[in-house]
Amino acid sequence: MTREEALLLERSLEEALAPLHPADWDPPDDGSLAAEAWALCAELGWDHAGLPEDLGGMGDDVGPLVILAQAAGRHPLAMPLVETALARWALATAGLEQPPEGAILTVAHDGDALALRPAPGGPEATGRLARVPWARHARALVAAGPDGALVVVDLEGPGAAVEPHVDLAGQARDDVVLDAVAVAAADGSEGRRAAALLAPRAEVLRSAQIAGALGRALALTREHTSRRSQFGRPLTRFQLVGAHLATMAAHAALVDAMLDDACRAEDDAALAASAGSLALIAAEAATEVARSAHQCHGAIGATREYQLHHFTRRLWSWRSDGGGERRRARTLGERAQAASAAELWAGTEPSPLRG
């Protein structure tokens, strides 16, 4: 994707999504769908962004999906745009059939929890997938199966049940219970590639959503602190407010730099390595930025009338997606402890810079 294409995509997303959530907007917390927004995105074909260009997409590059996910972070609409786009990319990569236009899809992070059994009509899956985003609205989910194949589960078919839950932001995070459900599995090299990249790409895209929300939380905090006064001085004149703003800006800059790094990754292994650090950094940034934003806002920030909560509640939820920070940190740390001195150093090397 050229820089011009990227800017164009960003601008189209901005223009379409921004009007959908006015400042006093407070949708229900019950996991329901922002149907109008979803319909618009599907109509504009953004859920196809990860497909090859001949299928109406923008290719295998993770870049366009990152721009999509950042916009989804800036615009807190209840819809699985990122999940559907990722799932469609995985299906295309694995050489599997694309669901019909407008279909809602999702991705489970713990597909290795499934038991797959061969059956006369093809493999069948049994097991429980935890906290699958938007599962109740989805026609199908994709996951990396226990044997490394890409697995596609029809959520509308027999044997599949969805137990509804919501996250801190009222977004659907449903448990999916499968009892001998017929699945499609792609276990050729393309299918395995798609399965192996599913988790790193999900990490990158969730981090991109976090980046979008960080930016909005920072902007709201700047606006608030430059407009309000206390003890006769504007809030921005207080050194501790300045320290909060600096903390927020610094963490946001770090996440942005790591997102660029992930987009520059030269191969799948490099993407996975970048994603591991990015996800941890984004989670920490979510924590720090949300805390500073609320601290600078005071009581108004903790209300539903004001916009900040749309972003901070999502930051608190998104940072935990995909299994949580502790598991991620432990994986990275165990690798570092087992590494030679040269491997330790190489493991922190950024992706090559372009131009």
């Binding site: 320290a243 703003l245 730099a257 402890q337 330790l344």
Partner: protein, 366 residues
């Protein structure tokens, strides 16, 4: 990283590994301040690794800032003794390159690139702290030069330096913008006196430097008389934006990864640090790329130092928690870093000052 940079990295790394193997140096944290070895710096200069971004006419190699970053990363990673040339090569050279006369460039850049000159930084004063606007050292016109009078403090390596960079008042009636000028002062000038200040480790790196009418010829002015404030502000971006802001302590991270117990607590803490280091390296690369593009990314540099300090403090705390009671070598390295940390966290601007810069540059707070 493009091929030539990867090659450069391998060369530097191989040289350092070989030198370390011969016992020429032992990896040390904070070595860019504490590891003084003129011969070592000269060896680096002979290999063309100092002033690598400068034009060949001045002893450089005309390489991008990314090449310099590759070299400095490897030097810091190895904990090599680079203090003799560090300040001269990092910020004095670029300042002279940007603002100096042709004569000054020809006089000073080649020997800096050869690792033959040590510079000290005469910025801080005891009543000025982080506030450069409060500098009181004066430089008065005297014939075809200036006479500098005043006292600088926290002047690292002044007792080993051939030259001092000195920020001084040339027009005390002017506002911040017109008040200051930058000079290169020969430390052998008779009216310069150096008094040692011992640091927490009991080592002598800091000094107080007294200038009692020290003469500086006109040609040793950097840039334009009265433009010191503007010039030094650009210099601080170079000072803050490098990998020494988070890699002073890399040998400790390596010792931590190798030496900590293998349990959940250690793995989680180390994993978090490794991710942050990758993030910081990425930011530093990005900052160097922007310098190559002709920018002076002052805010990015301040962010790097701000996040870098917090990373280094957390690394120290984690290492202490996970490595004690440890081997003699580990204990010595921990003690070394602990005693250096107050200095590390202040250098390049205290966290408080940086927060102000970051918030202000975002046009928000002050």
């Amino acid at each position: 990283m493009a091929e030539p940079l990867a090659e450069l990295r391998s060369e530097v790394a191989a040289f350092l590994a070989a030198e370390q193997a011969t016992g020429r140096f032992a990896p040390r944290c904070d070595a860019w301040m504490r590891g003084v070895d003129r011969g070592f710096s000269q060896d680096l200069g002979r290999r063309g690794w100092l002033g690598i971004t400068w034009p060949t006419a001045y002893g450089g190699r005309g390489q991008p800032h990314l090449a310099r970053l590759v070299v400095t990363e490897e030097l810091l990673r190895a904990g090599a003794p680079v203090a003799s040339h560090w300040i001269a090569e990092r910020q004095i050279g670029p300042a002279i390159l940007r603002y100096g006369t042709e004569a000054l460039k020809h006089e000073l850049l080649p020997p800096i690139a050869a690792g033959e000159l040590t510079f000290c930084l005469g910025m801080s004063e005891s009543e000025a702290g982080s506030d450069l606007a409060a500098v009181r050292t004066v430089a008065q016109r005297d014939g075809d030069g200036f006479r500098v009078t005043g006292t600088k403090i926290w002047t690292t390596n002044a007792h080993r330096a051939e030259f001092a960079y000195v920020l001084a008042v040339t027009d005390s009636a002017a506002g911040k913008a017109g008040r200051l000028s930058e000079f290169v002062v020969d430390m052998r000038t008779p009216e310069v006196e150096v008094r040692p200040i011992y640091d927490l480790a009991g080592e002598h790196h800091f000094n107080e430097v007294f200038f009692d009418g020290a003469f500086v010829p006109e040609g040793r002015v950097i840039g334009t008389v009265g433009r010191g404030w503007e010039q030094v502000t650009a210099q601080l971006a170079f000072e803050r934006g490098g990998p020494e802001r988070f890699m002073s302590t890399y040998p400790l991270l390596q010792a931590l990864a190798a030496g900590a117990e293998r349990d959940a607590s250690a793995a989680e803490a180390i994993g978090g640090l490794v991710a942050r280091l990758r993030g910081l390296r990425t930011l530093a690369w990005e900052t160097a790329r922007r310098m190559d593009a002709g920018e002076a990314p002052a805010q990015a540099a301040a962010i790097l130092k701000f996040l870098g300090t917090s990373y280094e403090q957390d690394l120290l705390e984690t290492a202490r928690r996970l490595l004690e009671p440890g081997s003699e070598a580990t204990a010595a390295m921990l003690a070394d870093v602990q005693l250096a940390m107050p200095g590390i966290s202040l250098r390049g601007g205290s966290t408080e000052i940086l927060a102000g810069i970051i918030a202000k540059d975002a046009e928000v707070a002050r």
